[in-house]
Symmetry: D2
Subunit: 355 residues, 4 copies
């Protein structure tokens, strides 16, 4: 295990540094004979793409995916799908000062400690650029899931202190995707955009939260005891850059609840009247929507000057150059969906194996 492979039957391997020639991956285990729509893949890449709107980084990457194998005449062969995305807009000299200095709350220091060497340009392997490969793989997984009647919908429900507290319904996806922030309310979107612009003006950054709802998952997915469905979803989410927390259903609110209010009572259809469980009981899906939230910290690169140290552990000061996001959360929505889709598809196949 060296960390760049994810999944059991559906398995994604990725490679790529931010300022290397390309990033890409190999997705294996996708069943054979499935029609893949490359445009839908590209759409998800565009949702993640830098430069997509005024509130994200202006780094320009066309992020065009090239498929190299595993798809023949528009259909999956059942063999590994190799793909790559070339790196284009690399202003590597923006990063010259980083050859020595460790950016606070970045992975510069830990990569140096771990490997004794690092590609300092744009964060190298630690850059969120690596998530491009996840989005490609996840977009394919979503297409397979759709054929099983499973929908994976993520959206922003908090930026800073501004929260969207509405009730999620599928049609709201059109709303969330119509806003720059990807929140399912035009009004809240406006407040959030305002906050992000303000933060950017300050040369600062802000955190946020993404909620993900997966509908149509049949009961029975999840492997007791260590590979509980929400444990794997949690790992998948926590592996995304900048994520600091994961909660499912009632989540941290459960801490102060009583059993009598927390228990989800059954209906005679085998559904539950509430969904504090978030669609999973005992690590196994129960047929209700899977519902979880992911906490993102504010981007570490700020435009303000900061004190830090260099490789010789000497104090140096550093001010952010390059083009960065004041808030990465809107762009992370398709990444959350991608990782969720990979987990659900993997567990769906595992469950099929024993039935």
């Amino acid at each position: 295990m060296a960390g760049s492979v994810f999944g059991t039957l559906v398995r994604l391997s990725t490679f790529g540094e931010s300022h290397g020639k390309a990033v890409g991956g190999i997705l294996e285990g996708i069943p054979a004979g499935i029609s893949i729509d490359p445009e839908a893949v590209q759409e998800d890449l565009d949702r993640r793409r830098p430069g997509q709107s005024a509130i994200v980084t202006q780094r320009k990457e066309s992020d065009t995916v090239q498929f190299l194998s595993g798809i023949f005449e528009g259909k999956t062969l059942g063999t590994p799908i190799g793909f790559l995305i070339e790196n284009e807009d690399q202003r590597s000299k923006d990063y010259d000062q980083l050859e020595q200095a460790f950016r606070p709350s970045h992975a510069d220091f830990t990569y140096q400690q771990k490997y004794g060497i690092r590609d300092h340009r744009g964060g190298g392997r630690s850059s969120a650029r690596e998530t491009v490969s996840r989005v490609v793989a996840g977009a394919i997984a979503k297409q397979v899931l759709e054929q099983h009647g499973i929908r994976v919908d993520a959206f922003v429900d908090q930026i800073g202190h501004i929260q969207w507290t509405g009730a999620w319904r599928t049609p709201l996806k059109a709303v969330s995707e119509s806003t720059l922030v990807r929140v399912p309310s035009l009004e809240v979107a406006e407040q959030m955009e305002e906050l992000i612009r303000e933060v950017r003006k300050d040369g600062d950054t802000i955190g946020g939260r993404i909620r993900c709802v997966i509908e149509g998952v049949p009961a029975g997915l999840g492997e007791p005891v260590f590979d509980k469905l929400h444990a794997e979803l949690g790992k998948a989410m926590l592996s995304i850059n900048a994520v600091k927390g994961f909660e499912i259903g009632s989540g941290f609110d459960a801490v102060s609840m009583r059993g009598s209010e927390h228990n989800d009572l059954f209906t005679i259809e085998g559904k539950t009247t509430t969904n504090h469980s978030g669609g999973i009981q005992g690590g196994i899906s129960n047929g209700m929507p899977i519902d979880f939230r992911v906490a993102f910290k504010p981007v570490a690169t700020i435009m303000k000057e900061q004190e830090t140290i260099n490789e010789s552990f000497e104090a140096v000061s550093l001010s952010g150059k390059g083009r960065h996001d004041p808030c990465v959360v809107p762009r992370a929505v398709p990444i959350v969906e991608a990782m969720a889709a990979l987990v659900i598809l993997d567990y769906l196949l595992i469950q099929k194996a024993t039935h």
Copy 2:
């Protein structure tokens, strides 16, 4: 992957239903030649044991571990350590009514959906009794970690709305372990015990939160990009029964923070002045204490009557029998430590492999 194996180089496999003959496991990958103190293992089992105090379930289990292999003349052989704990106090007839009925927010329904068959007595494999095996393995892992100067300390920091908000220091472990609730303050302990007694009197249950601090972890542990150290810790925690959330460092608070306040600035010793990162940056330990929190929902079995359904999807009513915990969180402290220790030891060995 069928779910009952955890880890890569240090690997735990477990078996056992709540009311079967025994629970147990196989722990492999523990380096050879290490002296194992069986009493320290038993102590951790006693911290998890039912019947240990007035505020937990009065089910009586001596929970005595028998080692069957892998230890020779007091030292590890490097071969798998097989162990088992016999199940003793099984009042299986307490569970007769469950042969048909699905308990709300338990795994009865999902196991039945997944497997089409289940051992209804005491929850079978879905029972938290399975965590006995984790505690045995974790207690061994902790002994190995100690020899590397690594300490794993978990404690309760919230029950219901009552929170302990102090600053953690190692000596507080003696305090937390001296209280029935395992909270590092005698005063807060009293309030929490009071709450638990009140909840029990109501035939109800209450949730809680455990914080875990790991000191002495060298910088460099963690495998980018999917096997980030906190992603694996998160999975390990979310695999524990009743856990609904995991957060590291700033956690969900990061959502409303700005980069300028969230960034951990370096000292010239290579430490950081704050620890919002929770000891991990970019998925790799940075040498600061690893610091995370785990949310537990209230136990689903309550002594109040509840409406539910049976296997024929007919409405039935159910009232809790048997002996259950009003609050499982104090007993979960050694389980959190165990899973954390297994992850850290596994990653420590993986890191050693490439250096």
Copy 3:
């Protein structure tokens, strides 16, 4: 990976030293709801058992398996099946001289080099006693395979220079199992027994070969490119003690064959007229019988005096004590079947997952 876990969806973990308290294992991934016949498991254990006949070791072990979990009212629960077999007839003092000396062609030396410590009694973990756990797991896997119309039949086809060269047909299993040597010819059996007795009289040991034929395997099992079906079968066989070679279909004979004679031509039923492929083409089963052979070296423990060295690398002489097999091959037949059954069942489930 520390070596004591085998398989992907059907996964066996084992533990146990030869002279420890017990050997045993955890078998997970067996589908739920399957009736298990414990007597059939015991029968396979008896086929492997020491003391079963005059031509094998006279060590007495009843080898009675105890199931601890995963089976409820005679049926599998889908949860891990924990089991153990107690070690009984341990004349550990037979091994006192081995505390220091390394037996030639045994694993004493390599275990000492690897771990710096070893349980010298009876070979410890390196003893073939460990294969008891494989036989238990394999006997369960065979029962599951039977329900899919798949039969796994192994038999001896060579001892020393004496070879059985007949054509295999299923009914011959009754013949091979009726002989002490497990060869499908009474006449050849007599010659082989005679040879084994002669070898024993000399205080020596002799090698042999086992052939395994698996009928009823549907076309389509096997995962290109690294997890080809015969690659996994090969690994499974090579992991058995004393195995020095594996060949499938034409095997090493293929080296001197021409394509025009080696190619298996198709019939219009989709079968082939010859089976040089051994039932597998391109790593995937083709619906013909899977047919492979496994080479066993002569047992290393001989009753003759041998020169060797001790832990201080000083020359010492050693003569075999204890009770050993002049030829281990007849007892290895159920082990070969067990490992083959585990591989086939695992790959059957993996294939089901994607179809």
Copy 4:
């Protein structure tokens, strides 16, 4: 597990169909800071390349590897090494007749049965073209092993009935590599070339055997009990196209040997006077050269007309078109070395982890 990932700490994922855009892979787990010589990689590719001599296929592929990540300023970063090789000389129309017909002893039939779809051009994923990726990864692994004093040398020791029976010594590598057949004797090489030319003239093909000797492996590598070092080597070899058998040390000859002649006696240096064990005892390396042999069947594509069936199970006749090898064995030598190097490096790191 879908079959295209190999290894534990050193892990190779590959992708690519014979007539797709490219083949390639991701190699992760290579330690950081190691200088990689891209020319040595290219040299191994050239040893595997079609068109390299008069006795192999005349298909023209330059097989130039492009590294996309993981190497920075000539040194490994510790991050995944992504690479690809474009497919160039694709005369796909040579394969038009295969769109329907199943070639005897090819994987056309089994891929169709498994996936219900296949890329018929040049065998698609089942083509030995996929081994290009193995050679790239193996060439990198060999460079790392060299720094640990470990040499991996493979050579041909049999083609048809012509065998080289000399004693292997390292300097012979120069001889074997100077011949077209890669056999360590100019005289035997001449006979083998003669045979291959004769076979080609007949429109036929011929099998062969490769021997591999690994020197400098320290004692202690290998993971009991399922992941024995030779079991993993066996799997690695059996995963190579056209391989029908694997044997280590005495191999199948052990079947007719007695223990008294087979046992490797120790010298007081801790070496052994003979090496029937092939450098591995009890699944763990003993410090002697690791020595194994691999059997290759004759290439299935012959230039003679053959009867076969099509997808509708109708009889059709087929004659080989395209450019194929009369004997693939000389080109397989670097593939055997590559897989051996990947296994040894993986196990070396695993062993380092626990010491």
